[in-house]
């Protein structure tokens, strides 16, 4: 048995050395930290660091003990998928020259691993906050004015969430006396407020409406590779902490169910395909939260395995639309279409991602999402079941059909972009193979889930149910599309629930720049007038007068201080 090495620190420290390398060497180096992190996680499964569960890296802090490495089935599953996904992601972004982009992405991925393995609330908070900052830098690397202001709004949301979480953690720790992060207790009334604030902080990162607007606002503004990273870590680490802390918490069922429906309308209307994918990300996280809320072993298995599959297919979808953006310079449905001939590989990858997110039989979403839906049926939650099935049809429509349709088929845009370079194809290829592998042979995934799996997705009723649901949803799309009733793409943005906040912020900015600044200038002028009247050193060369006065005043105070000091020593010694 050897000493455990924290995979998060492998990525974070690995990121620091990126600027030392150039060209091909940099590309070779970039692969090392993610692969090393993945190897460590795989070794954990083999029992190299001890039997699971174990905890390592216990560090004393004040009168508590921080646990940086809490390794059990749940944290290991998320650790595996985060480190597994980072490898194709880094391969996909190898061509990028910017050091800052690579570094922020590696630190971001590292912090997500830190959150996953944190065994106490303090080290959790530590990684949680660095993760926000790192992801903000990932957004800023978009290097446009829009990316800059979107990153600013992003970090404001997360600072608000972070402060809420911190307040919650402090109240909770002082009420319970323990910093261990396990199921959050609601029992004692003094801990309730803390638990509630912690919950709020968590669901903000998960993107639960109405706290979701930062996702479609900022993810589409990042770089091609940045948005792929963003689509993976923040929301899914929130899913992890909710699964850990709030499993079986009733309100999550309904928040999750609403979360699956609400974004669909926006996804139907949106023109920017990366925005469509951001909204469908919220919708997919809804399925996970719903499962966590139901809280039975089947539901939890469904929620976390869906997170596992989701990371892969959502990454793949962002990669394929990213490739289109990379080659054509746009990801807007109005400007795209007909690319399937010149980008055949990207088209196939996008279709595989789309089939996976729609939960087509033999693709990854099918073997995971159905556990959540089944859990709602077994639990007798009829309305939830109906809503989740509605959302499933909706996902197929906006992510399964709309995204590939408007990018690669649809109206011929006249664009003749080619498939992207080899590293991007390879990254997408790995993700696509994983989607199909999990879909065809889910049993390895089922084995590493937190609870034993007694669920077989490949039964006749289930396969036919899903196929009917999906194909007839596509039939509705076909009828509306051919009869011209389908809402056409528009070069517009759609107001979301962040509208009031943004308008208030704009008013506030106006108030500061207008009346408040005028008032400040007025105060300034009065102060100047008084000062110049006092100084009587003459009116010419105002600045010199002020400098002279201030130097003289400083000397005067220094002299006074010395005198007082000497007197004091003389009297009391």
């Amino acid at each position: 048995m050897i000493e455990w090495l924290h995979p998060a620190f492998v990525l974070i420290i690995g990121a620091l050395f990126v600027p030392l390398f150039k060209g091909k060497w940099k590309q070779a180096y970039l692969i090392i930290p993610p692969v090393a992190a993945l190897i460590i996680v795989v070794l954990m499964y083999t029992g190299m660091f001890g039997d699971i569960p174990f905890s390592a890296w216990r560090i004393p802090f004040l009168r508590y003990e921080l646990v940086f490495g809490r390794v059990d089935k749940l944290s290991l599953l998320f650790g595996l998928i985060f480190s597994l996904a980072t490898v194709p992601l880094i391969i996909y972004s190898l061509h990028v020259k910017s050091n800052s982009e690579h570094m922020s992405q590696l630190v971001y991925a590292g912090c997500a691993l830190g959150v996953v393995f944190a065994g106490d609330l303090i080290s959790l908070y530590f990684f949680w906050e660095i993760m926000s900052i790192a992801s903000m830098i990932v957004i800023w690397n978009g290097a446009t004015d829009k990316a800059h202001s979107a990153g600013m709004r992003y970090v404001l949301w997360h600072v608000a969430g972070g402060v809420t979480l911190l307040a919650g953690i402090i109240i909770y720790i002082s009420a319970t006396g323990s910093i261990t992060f396990n199921g959050i207790e609601w029992s004692s009334s003094s801990a309730t407020l803390g638990a509630l604030l912690i919950f709020l902080g968590f669901i903000l990162n998960a993107g639960v409406p109405p706290l979701h607007a930062w996702i479609p606002d900022s993810y589409p503004e990042a770089t091609v590779t940045g948005s792929v990273f963003l689509s993976i870590f923040t929301t899914k680490s929130a899913v992890y902490v909710l699964a850990r802390g709030f499993s079986g918490f009733g309100p999550l069922i309904w928040l999750g169910a609403i979360m699956t429906i609400y974004p669909i309308f926006y996804a139907v209307l949106e023109n920017d395909l990366r925005k469509v994918l951001s909204y469908s990300l919220i919708n997919q996280v809804g399925f996970m939260l719903c499962g966590i809320g139901i809280g039975t072993p089947l539901a939890i298995n469904g929620a976390v395995s869906h997170a596992f599959a989701h990371i892969i297919y959502k990454g793949l979808l962002f990669m394929s639309i990213g490739s289109v953006l990379h080659k054509t310079g746009t990801a807007k449905a109005t400007d795209l279409g007909g690319l399937y001939k010149t980008m055949p590989l990207t088209t196939v990858f996008c279709l595989i991602g789309a089939a996976s997110i729609s939960a087509f039989p033999m693709f990854s979403g099918f073997v995971t999402k159905s556990m959540v839906i089944q859990a709602s049926a077994v639990g007798g939650l009829a309305l939830v079941y109906i809503l989740l099935q509605l959302a499933s049809a909706g996902v197929f429509h906006h992510a399964g059909i709309k995204v590939p349709f408007f990018a690669f088929f649809g109206h011929d845009s006249g664009l003749r972009a080619k498939d992207p370079q080899f590293n991007m194809i390879l990254g997408m290829g790995i993700m696509a193979s994983l989607c199909i592998f999990i879909g065809l042979y889910p049993y390895p995934l089922y084995q590493i889930l937190p609870y034993p799996v007694v669920f077989d997705p490949f039964t006749a009723p289930h396969v036919v149910e899903v196929l009917q649901l999906l194909l007839f949803a596509s039939f509705a799309f076909f009828l509306l599309m051919t009869s011209g009733l389908y809402p056409p793409e528009q070069r517009k943005i759609n107001l979301d629930l962040d509208w009031p906040v943004r308008i208030i912020a704009i008013w506030l900015k106006r108030f500061v720049k207008g009346p408040l600044m005028n008032f400040a200038a007025w105060l300034d002028s009065i102060a100047k007038k008084i000062a110049s009247d006092f100084s009587a050193f003459g009116e010419e060369k105002e600045e010199r007068v002020y400098i002279g006065v201030s130097v003289m005043l400083a000397l005067l105070f220094l002299a006074l201080y010395l005198i007082v000091e000497i007197l004091y020593n003389w009297i009391f010694s």
Binding site: I264, F265, V268, L269, G337, G338, Y340, L351, A355, F360, P361, M362, A377, G380, A382, Y385, Q389, L390, A393, G394, H397, I401, P404, F405, F409, G410, H411, D412, F458, A460, P461, V463, V464, E465, L467, Q468, L469, L470, L471, F472, A473, S474, F475, A476, F478, L480, T482, P487, Q490, R491, K492, I493, N494, L495, R502, I506, K509, R510, K513, G514
Partner: protein, 105 residues
């Protein structure tokens, strides 16, 4: 049995791909054939479900073609709600930027 399920799943994927190619513009040279394949697979799905022993967790699952009807209706419903929302929600792409520029006026 397993083979049947794999076959059905493959048919589903074929229908999905056929639809994408058939609805693109300018029309695919084989458009009619693609649509015929798509339609045929839809009909197969309807027929297959007649022979399936549906588990009945909720009473409505007893209806044979429940999921086909529900999938179709769900999609129409979602798109029509979106169409209604389109009356209220859309703004110009530089909506927020314009609001901010109002500052210096």
């Amino acid at each position: 049995m397993e083979l049947m399920l794999v076959l059905l799943s493959l048919l589903g994927v074929i229908a999905y791909v056929a639809l994408n190619y058939a609805t693109k513009e300018p029309s695919h040279p084989q458009k009619d054939k693609l649509l015929a394949i798509y339609g045929l697979i839809l009909i197969i799905m309807l027929i297959v479900s007649l022979f399936i022993q549906w588990p009945i967790e909720f009473s409505w699952q007893g209806a044979k073609e429940f999921y086909a009807i529900y999938g179709f209706a769900a999609c129409i419903f979602l798109i029509y709600v979106a169409k209604v929302l389109r009356i209220v929600l859309p703004r110009d792409e530089d909506y927020y930027e314009k609001k901010e520029e109002g500052l210096n006026d």
